[in-house]
Symmetry: C2
């Protein structure tokens, strides 16, 4: 049977939430990944060392003693001091910036993207070598939000040439052009933006489980992202943006944004890279590029996949929480056969 | 208090469905409208005189003896004979064409839009003066489907110059350009395509009650449609495309397409035309244009509206059916005060 090995996979953009939903989803990442960059957009968000340590501890306690490292972050604030950032530097992998109001819990995001407003924090980060992760969307028309944000990315890249800026979950071909233009721009790409277009949300029946921000875009956008990922371009990393919500908050009148892919991402990516004859590039996309970009050494974990059908569960349940994964009930042609830790 | 009168409003594109849902929604149109053009896309669809008569009877029985005329249609079939169409001509207002697979129950639609395939039926309709209503979408990318269909509209307009062709529920600025180019092209516009963009479906939380086919498009499309409707262009008519589905089939994993607006359309249109200082054009958009295009004389019905807040119900219920209207729970600034029949 055809098989494939992924070494120390890293998910460089992950939402784990808190409480029971954390207990449900954390083991579904820690089992399959060596490490994951954890988003700080709780309510209230992670902005202090105390909150960071406590959250990291809650994550570790939810991870079933798996050989897994949560790479934690704090939420960008305009009033972080140099001393605060210097003091917390070794505890975080990055600072995450949300513009106000663009996604789940982003009511705690920054209300102005003016460079003058952002400059003090960004200069400190730049000096200290702390990378900046950005959810790059305006509040414009849903299909244009990322494109409209590109001048802001460009301005950040020019104004802070020593700052590593990660364009999170890029979704358009225009973002790829900008990414290639500036040395200090990097990007994560989700598995759903490689597989879906707006057709998969609103083209047939309405599917709340493919609804996310940034919304999946046009076929030519998907194609451009796919080519970039398949080539394992050294500036791109896998980041699932796996974002669990309770089934009832998805299948309802006002459905929450977020696609849950953590436990199926490795299988889907293996299937996708194999289909395009690019399995040789998968370890770079899913681990090696991130190691170089973030200068990290992940815990050792060897994932053996085999070409054998795997039916995606209809949902994952813990206590009162129920999370529906993308493609629930559908078949993938690759399964995880064995996992070796350490 | 500011008031406004609508005379004999007509809804030139309406889905009434069947059984209990028909009993729920038919009175919500017959109360407020003089007449409505009823879509034939039941399962099985209306394609015979017997089915047509029986469905019309079921509609009338559901209408609470309101002074209302259901303007019934049959589903386009490539094998209708001239004799069949001649025989049914006086019983129908139009023939409705669905390409295969583009919307609810369109699995009974035509599988080829080749002129040679459609010609026999269309030539008979042309000779007999029966208008053709078309759901003009391809199966392409959801935002492009209507635009991709325009060459087919153009080919129909050129090949059948004596056929009245109604472009149903147009949703793009490109459709407006084509509409103006050919004398035998006409169009209906819904109230939701005048008010919404894709932002109202997927821009904030996911809203299944604004999800429809054709999908609501970009802001510039909405603006162009709005200008056309506000000008009461003589080739456009109001057609709600009000399309009820049970709440549970909307707020779920695979949500059905269709926006329910029948009982709120007159109030919303009055508010919209007043906001733009175009109330003088509303009777043309909502009745007079359709009377001229279809050469019909509607039953007399006088709707008195007053500028008074109206809270849209959260849902409409009959037996086990529950239908949620667009903007449920929201406030409109116009109410229906009095209705005079006859």
């Amino acid at each position: 049977m055809k098989d494939f090995i992924i070494n120390s996979p890293l998910d460089m953009h992950l939402h784990l939430r808190d409480d029971d939903i954390l207990k449900l989803v954390a083991p579904l990442t820690s089992k399959y990944f060596s490490g994951a960059l954890i988003m700080p957009n709780l309510l209230p968000p992670i902005t202090t060392k105390e909150a960071l340590f406590a959250y990291k501890q809650r994550i570790i306690e939810s991870c079933n003693h798996d050989n897994f490292e949560p790479l934690v972050t704090i939420l960008f604030q305009v009033d972080y001091t140099y001393e605060f950032l210097k003091n917390i530097k070794d505890e975080i992998i990055a600072v995450k910036l949300y513009p106000f109001g663009v996604t789940t819990n982003s009511e705690t995001g920054v209300s102005s993207m003016e460079i003058t407003v952002l400059r003090p924090t960004l200069e400190s980060m730049s000096k200290l070598g702390i990378p900046l992760c950005v959810h790059g969307e305006t509040k414009g028309f849903v299909m244009d939000r990322e494109k409209e944000f590109l001048p802001i990315y460009e301005s950040l890249a020019i104004n802070f040439p020593d700052l590593k800026i990660i364009m999170e979950h890029i979704s358009t071909k225009e973002s790829i052009e900008l990414l290639k233009k500036y040395n200090n721009l990097y990007a994560t790409i989700t598995v759903h933006h490689l597989l879906l277009t707006l057709d998969d949300v609103t083209g047939g029946m309405l599917n709340p489980h493919t609804f996310c921000k940034p919304i999946v875009k046009r076929p030519d956008d998907r194609q451009a992202l796919l080519e970039l990922a398949l080539s394992a371009h050294p500036k791109v990393m896998f980041g699932s943006d796996s974002a669990p919500h309770h089934r009832k908050t998805k299948e309802c009148h006002d459905g929450a944004a977020g696609v849950f892919t953590a436990p199926i991402a490795l299988q889907l990516l293996t299937q996708l890279f194999e289909e395009h004859g690019k399995l040789d590039n998968l370890n770079a996309f899913i681990s090696l590029n991130a190691q170089k970009i973030y200068n990290i050494k992940p815990k050792s974990k060897v994932i053996n996949l085999v070409k054998k059908d795997f039916i995606i569960p209809n949902s994952y349940i813990y206590k009162n929480e129920e999370v529906v994964p993308m493609f629930n009930g559908k078949k993938i042609s690759w399964s995880i056969e064995k996992i070796n830790n350490g």
